[in-house]
Symmetry: C2
Subunit: 194 residues, 2 copies
Amino acid sequence: MTRSIEFFFDVGSPASYLAWTQRHTLGAPVTLRPMLLGGVFKATGNASPVSVPAKGRWMMADLQRWAARHGVPFRMNPHFPINTLTLMRGATAMQRQDEAVLDRYLSLVFPAMWAEPRNLGDAVVLAALLAEGGFNGEAFQAAVSDAEVKAALVATTEEAVARGVFGAPTFFVGDEMHFGQDRLDFVREAAARG
Amino acid sequence: MTRSIEFFFDVGSPASYLAWTQRHTLGAPVTLRPMLLGGVFKATGNASPVSVPAKGRWMMADLQRWAARHGVPFRMNPHFPINTLTLMRGATAMQRQDEAVLDRYLSLVFPAMWAEPRNLGDAVVLAALLAEGGFNGEAFQAAVSDAEVKAALVATTEEAVARGVFGAPTFFVGDEMHFGQDRLDFVREAAARG
């Protein structure tokens, strides 16, 4: 008897990407919870690790080591930090359509952001990527402009903050919260505890 | 053929304590490098994780989980953060006497700070602890007032910052830097790489 795992993430977070690549290794069902990391930072008084230059330099090397350990491609995006408001509204809209559509969207966006990498903060670059992935650009634009989609992303972000989230990725197993792609063992143990 | 490990720490850091409890599990000789974490924060623009309240709350639970995993006693010190200037000058002075004296000092101070825990920022409490541990209080006071000891702690702290340190604990294996008591596997791998 395992418990399911909630995975709060933002596609602009390289640690969220690394955690996402391991989503099928956690031994339990994973519920994707797209949130806006910028909103979390603003609400909690937190900031990106790269706001401390020495920490940012270490983090780049550390992420590369984790990617090697996981055996997944990773290249730091030279355009980081990228404003992910449109991308995360997109994730929210896809999930409202169907979990399978969100899965297809993230399988396109996460590697484009953290393996190729591309500047997905540029609308032209994003439009090209969506077209390559078989998404309808006009439908995407309509979806990310939808008031309900915008409100749903705000609501998830506010829920995350209310539950104690201050960064990404963050996992919940019931009320137990784990922060970071380097805490997957704790997440697995919590889920297995049932 | 293993390489030795430099361990930069401050006794006021709970993560430094947890890493210190694992110093004999790293499979390589460990060189103790006492530094002043407050000086590192000031020089790098970094701050304690607890300066973001939500992060501080998670960190307390996370440290407890790591202590359980390591099988070591841990209780968050209610007086945290404690000014460690005297304590770290003490560590510097002990090391200048003899590595074995530093080892005895840390085996007294670290558990008093993070397992009992006591308010070692209080001079009376510290004096009592040192007496219990068989240290001469007057000699300790003289040592921590010594200009060469003060300068040596400053020099180690400046060296740490110059090499990229932004927090504690930090490990070096040659030029390779690892931050955090949650990176001991990387430290072991780096040392074993020879």
